[in-house]
């Protein structure tokens, strides 16, 4: 493992790709689930909410093991994909994306639910009476008003995805240049007692994370007041 910057470049790019995709997936799924639980009333809603939080509570390695069982070539999902599409998920960077997405999903979901619940329903009514369909109401009123809270969740999810390695390592393996993310590299350096390499890689991870968070801060609208 090179301690030079170029040595960190490959895992860095891979890490960004994995975390980016995982965050994108959670942008959709987390917002969807958050909206559902904020708005729909159905029996077992609280239970579903708690269940969707479980990926957070399981040690990543254990979660990784369950994911392995699920998406491995012998698993129900992995086997099906392999049989019908010839796709082998396991030990690919896509598997790393799935692991990172699962681990960070509750972060987006919870943040989105809380954010949607603070949006004044009267404003949505106002938009409806102005002729907007439900989708347009969502994208033009609900989402912008909830965005600040959702963004906070997304940033946490991105950070978590950057740092994730327990579950990732399990389903993606650690194939240098293919599935070795920064976190895995850091972990190995620490394990191997290569403190300087570890510190260097942690520095790279931290700087990357800070850069991404600062850039994303720009995406937040100015302070949007609750009342019109």
């Amino acid at each position: 493992m090179g301690s030079s910057f170029s040595g960190a470049l490959v895992p860095l790019l891979l890490t960004l790709k994995v975390a980016g995709w995982a965050t994108a997936i959670n942008l959709v799924l987390g917002i969807g689930a958050g909206l559902l639980l904020a708005r729909a009333r159905f029996p077992g809603r609280d239970l579903l909410d708690a269940a969707l939080t479980l990926p957070m509570v399981m040690p990543p390695t254990v979660l990784g093991y369950y994911l392995l069982v699920l998406i491995g070539t012998q698993g129900p999902l992995g086997g099906w994909l392999l049989q019908h599409f010839g796709i082998r998920l396991i030990f690919s960077w896509q598997a790393a994306v799935i692991a990172a997405a699962v681990v960070s999903f509750p972060l987006v979901f919870k943040a989105a639910r809380a954010a949607f619940e603070t949006v004044d329903p009267q404003l949505e009514d106002a938009a409806r009476s102005l002729g907007l369909g439900e989708a347009a109401v969502f994208f033009r009123v609900t989402l912008p008003l909830a965005w600040r809270g959702i963004l906070a969740g997304l940033l946490l999810a991105f950070a978590r995805a950057l740092g994730e390695f327990g579950a990732t390592l399990m389903v993606a393996g650690s194939i240098p240049g293919k599935t070795q993310t920064l976190s895995i590299a850091v972990y190995e350096a620490v394990q191997a007692g290569q403190d300087d390499v570890a510190n260097f890689l942690v520095g790279v991870t931290s700087l990357t994370c800070i850069a991404v968070l600062l850039a994303a801060g720009r995406l937040a609208p100015g302070r949007v007041l609750a009342r019109g």
Binding site: G72, T73, I90, S174, I175, P176, E188, V190, G193, Q194
Partner: protein, 229 residues
């Protein structure tokens, strides 16, 4: 008194079984185990963890501990041995007959502990390098974070073969087949040593020695460990 033993994770099952025997032989003593990867154990000890005995899975880690003056070098003992095995999924029809077979196209994925951080990976790398096979196998390597992960990959049929300890392979007999026992360039010996900073140096030393006793060795043997040579 409580005796804290930091032991390599792979010793978990065997050591749990050892505890009652030692406690019975030393009334008033309670064993406290702390299991983790050998490297993590060393870091804890180096940072002041109150440990009495350290049992590592490899010589290199114990050497480091010794170099840092953390253990009593004169009381360090090799307490058991293990062997490296090549395993394949139980369903596998044509297990490799030699290491050289791994270069064949049938073995696209081979689970190996990461050589940089996992002792079993280091042993594997040494063996393969000595056999001139490393460059051929390395591209097929699926890195594992620890022995257990390599074992899982093989047991679930996600890889075509894998290198683990004999003791690990014995954990899931129905799911993996041992294809080969691989002679290692250096023997796989587990060193144990009392800590230099132990509050109970005598008891710590007695534990290390007791590990070499026939009753302890019998238990260890049942878990697949061999005698230290």
């Amino acid at each position: 008194a409580e005796l804290t033993v930091s032991a390599a994770a792979s010793l978990n099952n065997a050591f749990q079984e050892l505890a009652p025997a030692f406690e019975a032989a030393h009334p008033g003593t309670k064993l406290q185990y702390n299991f983790a990867a050998s490297g993590a154990l060393l870091q804890q000890i180096a940072k002041g963890a109150p440990v009495d005995v350290f049992v590592s899975a490899d010589q290199a880690t114990m050497d480091q501990a010794q170099a840092q003056g953390l253990v009593k070098r004169e009381q360090r003992r090799n307490v058991m041995s293990n062997s490296l095995v090549l395993i394949v999924p139980a369903a596998s029809t044509q297990p490799p007959r030699s290491l050289g077979d791994l270069a064949q196209p049938a073995y696209q994925r081979v689970a190996i502990g990461l050589p940089a951080s996992v002792p079993v990976g280091r042993y594997t790398q040494q063996v393969l390098q000595a056999a001139g096979l490393w460059t051929a196998i390395e591209p097929r390597m699926i890195g594992a974070n620890n022995v257990r992960q390599a074992l899982d990959y093989v047991a679930r049929g996600e890889v075509d073969a894998g290198f683990v300890y004999a003791t690990d392979a014995a954990l899931v007999p129905g799911k993996v087949k041992v294809a080969l026992t691989v002679p290692t360039t250096e023997p796989i010996l587990y060193p144990a040593a009392p800590m230099a900073g132990s509050a109970q140096p005598e008891l710590a030393q007695r534990f290390v020695q007791w590990l070499l006793s026939p009753p302890a060795q019998a238990v260890l043997a049942r878990h697949g460990f061999g005698q230290p040579r």
